[in-house]
Point group: C2
Chain length 563, copies 2
C-alpha cells in the first residue's frame, strides 16, 4: 500500500447521512485509521428529510438542519476535531480505478484533478431526482425538491410573497409533504397532480389513499389524480403553465417536480460494479458491492424485502444511518449484517398522520401472494378520555397461512406505535395469531384496554370463520340493487353524521336488532355500517344467528369513510 | 345435565372486564348457549382504569365510564339484547359445590339465597384493596381508591370545595395517578407518602423513580418516601391525622389509601382451588384452574413472567380483556393459550409519561440474573423540528448473553412507541443485537433517523467493549475525591443549564477536547457529562485514544438528571 500523502486506508464518497455515519463509526472503532470523505457540495451533512419543514417555515433557518443539536456547524473542522476523520468538500470523484485502487478527484474550486488511493472504499453517492418524461421550461420557478438549494430558493420566493399559487407534480411522500409546506404557513393555493389514479401509489391501497386525498382537499389543496402532464411551459409573463393531457392548463407561480428519486450510481456503473433492477447498487448482507473492497450504503443501494425476498428501492435516512454502522463494523473487522427490510414509512400530511409497513394489498397481489384484508377505525384512547382521536387501519395478511403482510394507518391519532410494533412483527415473520399475544402498554391517557392490533387480529379470525368485511372504498353504487344498507348506530348518531349514499338506508340501532330483525328481508344481501366497525360486526353475528346468510360488514365504519 | 330453569351451560362470576368479555365472546362463538353472569354490584362493566380521570374532572360524569362508546348504558338489558347473555346484578355467589356443580347465590336485594347449576364456570372475581397494616379511623374522608363509590365520594367532596389538602398513602401507579387527579384541577395540596425509599418500587429503579419524584415536586406535591405511617386518627374536628413514625403528624382533609390490591379469591379458596404465591388463582396456559371445569381470568389470577418463568401478579384491564377471549375460545372448544407476560405498564404522572416493561435492574438482581444497564436521554423528534420533547430511557440486559431484560422510560415526549416495541422484543426473547435490526418509522414530525433503541443497543455494545456508563442516580459526593468532573458541552449551554454539583467541574467543549486533552490529568479518573449522553461518549473515546484509561460517561446527561 502506498504511503504517499494522497492515500487513505478508507475513503468514503458522499456526505449527508450514510457517508458521515460510516466514517464517524469507523473512526470510533479504529482511532488510528486514515479516513477521508469526499463530498461534492460545500455542505457535508444535513437533515434532508427536514427540508419540507424548512420550506414551510417550521424550521427557522437552513443552518438548523446542518448544525449539531448543540449548535455546532458540521464543517470539515468539526468532523476532524470531533469525529476524527478528514473531509474534503467541493471534491467530486470522477473515476474509480479498481485495479490500482485509485480515485480521480475533481477539485470543483480549481477545476484541477488529483488522484487518491484507497484500501477500502465506501460509496454513499445518494440519489437524484427523477426527471419528468415531458419537456420542462427553464425557470427559477420550476424546481425539484431534493437539494438544499431547492428548499432555500422556494422559501426565499415564498416569504417575499412572490408565490400565490403552486403546482406539485407527483403525489408521493415528498409531494404530500410539500403540499403542507406550501399550503399551511404561506397560504399558497396548491394544486397537486398525480399520474396514477391515487396518491402514494407505492405504499397505500386506493381506499386508504382516498383518506389522504380527503385531508388534502379539506386543507384546500386541489388534488388531481390520474392526470398526466405533457409539458411545462412559460406564459408571456414568464410564469409556469402546465399542459395537461385531456385537461385545462394549470397556470401557477411555482412548480415543484416531485416525481421520486433514483439511485446516483453513474460512478459505480462506470467502474463496472453490479447494478440492480431498480438501478441501485447491489450489495450483499455485509453491504459489500460486487467488488469486495468496495462497500455501499444509503440512497444509492437497493434493499431486499423481508417478505418477498425481492429487491426494493427504499431511499430513507433511517436506513442510511443503519447502513453506515454496518459498513463501519465490517471495515473494522467485526462482521455485521444488514437485515432484509420490511418497508416502514411515516408521513405527515397536514393534520393526518400516515404510516405504512410491509406490503399493500395491491403489492401483495402483484407478487402473486394469497391476500386478504381487514379494516377498522379505532379511538387512540378510551372514548371517555379527553382529546382522543381516531385512527383508520388496514391490515393485509395471507389468509392461507395467516402470515402478516402489511399495515396501513391514517388518522389524527397516534399511528406511530402501531406501525413500529407491526414492523417488529413483520420482521419476525409473525402471523395473525401472534398479534393476539401482543402485550401493549395500557393506561387511559395513552391507549385502550385492547390494542387496535388485537381487534384487527380478531377480525381476521372472524373473516376465516365466514364473516365478510367490505373495503371502506367499496362503491355503494356498484353493489347490486337488491342489496339492503343497514345502519346500526343510534338514531342521534345517524342524524348528526349521516352515511352519505345515494340510496335508502335502514336504521335499526344495534340494541334493537334482535327484536327487529324480522323487518329485514332474509333473502337479500345486507351490508351493515356503524361508527367504526365493532357494532356492525356484532349486528352481523346477530343476523347470522337469526338465519340471515348473506351479511357483510363495512370495514372502518362511517368514521373510516368520512375521515 | 339438569334442564331446570336455575341452570346455565356457562356461568361467569364477576363483572367489570374479564367476566363480561368472556361472556360476550362466548355468546358470539356459541349463540345458542345459555350464559349467565352474576355480579355483586349494580354496575356491571365500567372503566376502572378511568376512575382517576373521573376523580380529576377530566371525565364529566361517572356514567361515561359505564356507557358504551355510543352512549348506551351497559345494563342487564343491554347485555341480553346486544351481547346475547344473561346478567344478574346484586347477586353474590357465596358457595361453589364442585361435586354437584352448583352455586349458592345470595340475592343482595332480598337477602334470600338460591342455587344455580353450571356446566363450566368462570371466576372473574377481581381484586380488592390492600388493607393498611396500621389502625385507620372510620371516616368518609379516609378511603381506598378502587371502587366507583370511592371516586364518586372524593369527587363530590372535591367539587364542593371541602378538600383543601389530601394525603395519599402509597406511591404506586394509583397513588401517582391520584396525586395528579387531586392536584391538577382541584388545586388540592397533596402529600404523597411511600414506605419504600422510592416511588413505583415494583417497576422502576431508584434513579428513574427519582425523575417521577421530580415531576411530582415540580407540580407542588409533597413527596415523602421511606416514610412509615403508624395510624390514621381523627382530630377534634373530625379531620384525618396521619401519625408518622419518627416524623411530624400529617393533618389533611382527605386520605387516599393506595397501598395496592390483592386478588379476591375467598370464594375460590373455600372451594379448594389452588392459590399461588401472590394469593391469586393458579391457572394453566388455557386459563383453567386446578378444577378443569373452572376457568379464571382478570385480577383474581396470577400470571407467569416470560423472562423468569416465575409467577407474577399483574392486575391490568388489558390482560383481563385478553384473558376473557382465551377463556371463551377454550369454552367454545377451540383451544387457545394465554402467553407468559412481559409486564408492560404505562402511567401518566402530571406531564410526565412513564412506562416500564420487563424487569428493572433491581428485580433482575433479585432473580439472580447477571445484569447491566445503559441510560440515555433522547429528543423524541429531530432537534430542528418544533415541539420536540425529551425522553429518558434505561435499558436493562444480561451482559453475558446479550438478552434484553427491561426498559424504563420517563419524559415529556413519546414513550409509548418504545415501550410497546420493547415489549414485542422481550416477548420474542430478543437480544441487544436484535435491536439494531429494528426498522422504525422515520419522518421528522415523529422521530429521528435512528431510534433511541438503536442508540441504547450501541451503548450496550460500547459497554461490552470497555466503555463505562454511570447511572444518572450516581451520587457525586460518593465518587472519590480524586475524580475529575468534565463537562463537554458548549460554554453557553453550561452557563444556561449548569450541572449542579458540590465540587469543581472542568468545562472543555467536545470540539476542543482533542487539542486540550493535555489539560487533564491522565492518572485521575474522569467522569464526563454533556446534555444527553452522546457527546460524553464521543469525549470518552477521544480521551481513551489519547491514553486516558479511567474514563466514565454519565448516562443520560444533564437533561436526564435535571428532568
Amino acid at each position: 500500500m502506498s504511503m504517499s500523502h494522497d492515500h487513505s486506508d478508507f475513503v468514503v464518497i458522499g456526505g449527508v447521512a450514510a457517508g458521515p455515519k460510516t466514517a464517524a463509526t469507523l473512526a470510533r472503532r479504529l482511532p488510528t485509521a486514515r479516513i477521508t470523505l469526499f463530498q461534492r457540495e460545500e455542505r457535508i451533512s444535513y437533515g434532508t428529510c427536514g427540508m419540507p419543514y424548512f420550506a414551510s417555515g417550521d424550521v427557522n433557518s437552513f443552518e438548523e438542519l446542518t448544525h449539531t443539536s448543540y449548535g455546532v456547524p458540521r464543517t470539515p473542522s468539526f468532523f476532524k476535531r470531533t469525529k476524527g476523520f478528514d473531509v474534503v468538500t467541493r471534491a467530486e470523484v470522477i473515476n474509480i480505478d479498481r485495479t490500482t485502487k485509485t480515485l480521480t478527484v475533481n477539485n470543483l474550486e480549481t477545476g484541477e484533478t488529483f488522484e487518491h488511493g484507497y484500501g477500502k472504499l465506501v460509496l454513499a453517492t445518494g440519489s437524484g431526482p427523477n426527471v419528468p418524461p415531458f419537456p420542462v421550461a427553464d425557470s427559477p420557478a420550476i424546481r425539484f425538491f431534493t437539494r438544499p438549494d431547492d428548499a432555500i430558493a422556494f422559501r426565499q420566493m415564498a416569504q417575499t410573497g412572490k408565490i400565490g399559487s403552486a403546482l406539485i407534480v407527483g403525489g408521493g411522500f415528498i409531494g404530500c409533504e410539500v403540499a403542507e409546506a406550501a399550503g399551511s404557513l404561506w397560504g399558497i393555493e396548491v394544486t397537486l397532480v398525480e399520474m396514477e389514479p391515487q396518491l402514494l401509489p407505492r405504499v397505500l391501497d386506493p381506499e386508504m389513499a382516498a383518506m389522504v386525498r380527503a385531508e388534502l382537499i379539506h386543507q384546500d389543496v386541489t388534488v388531481k389524480t390520474g392526470t398526466r402532464i405533457q409539458g411545462i411551459e412559460l406564459d408571456a409573463d414568464g410564469n409556469p403553465v402546465a399542459k395537461v393531457k385531456d385537461g385545462d392548463d394549470i397556470c401557477v407561480d411555482y412548480v415543484f417536480l416531485c416525481m421520486g428519486v433514483h439511485p446516483e450510481v453513474s460512478l459505480a456503473a462506470k467502474a463496472g460494479l453490479t447494478i440492480g433492477t431498480f438501478g441501485g447498487l447491489v450489495v450483499n448482507k455485509h453491504m459489500q458491492t460486487s467488488d469486495p473492497d468496495i462497500y455501499a450504503g444509503g440512497d444509492c443501494v437497493e434493499s431486499t424485502h423481508r417478505l418477498t425476498g425481492k429487491p426494493l428501492y427504499m431511499p430513507m435516512g433511517s436506513l442510511a444511518n443503519r447502513h453506515g454502522r454496518v459498513i463501519a463494523e465490517n471495515l473494522a473487522g467485526t462482521p455485521a449484517c444488514f437485515p432484509e427490510v420490511v418497508g416502514t414509512f411515516l408521513v405527515k400530511v397536514f393534520n393526518a398522520n400516515v404510516g405504512t409497513v410491509g406490503l399493500s394489498e395491491q403489492a401483495a397481489r402483484r407478487d402473486g401472494l394469497p391476500v386478504a384484508s381487514v379494516w377498522g377505525t379505532f379511538p387512540d384512547k378510551p372514548d371517555f378520555y379527553p382529546e382522543g382521536q381516531s385512527v383508520s387501519l388496514k391490515m393485509v395478511y395471507n389468509p392461507e397461512t395467516g402470515d402478516l403482510l402489511g399495515l396501513q394507518a391514517i388518522g389524527l391519532g397516534d399511528i406511530c406505535r402501531r406501525i413500529d410494533v407491526f414492523a417488529t412483527f413483520l420482521h419476525n415473520r409473525a402471523t395473525v395469531e401472534d398479534l393476539l399475544d401482543f402485550e401493549h402498554g395500557y393506561a387511559p391517557p395513552y391507549s385502550e384496554a385492547l390494542d387496535p392490533l388485537h381487534h384487527l387480529a380478531g377480525m381476521a379470525r372472524a373473516r376465516k370463520a365466514g364473516m365478510d368485511f367490505l373495503s371502506p372504498g367499496t362503491e355503494i353504487a356498484g353493489l347490486g340493487e337488491n342489496v339492503v344498507l343497514l345502519d346500526v348506530r343510534e338514531n342521534d348518531e345517524v342524524a348528526s353524521e349521516p352515511w352519505h349514499v345515494d340510496r335508502p338506508v335502514i336504521n335499526i340501532p344495534l340494541d334493537d336488532l334482535r327484536e327487529r330483525a324480522g323487518e329485514l328481508d332474509r333473502d337479500r344481501e345486507i351490508v351493515i355500517i356503524c361508527k367504526r366497525g365493532p357494532r356492525s360486526y356484532q349486528a352481523a353475528l346477530i343476523l347470522k344467528s337469526a338465519g340471515f346468510s348473506n351479511v357483510r360488514v363495512m370495514g372502518g365504519g362511517v368514521t373510516g369513510l368520512a375521515y
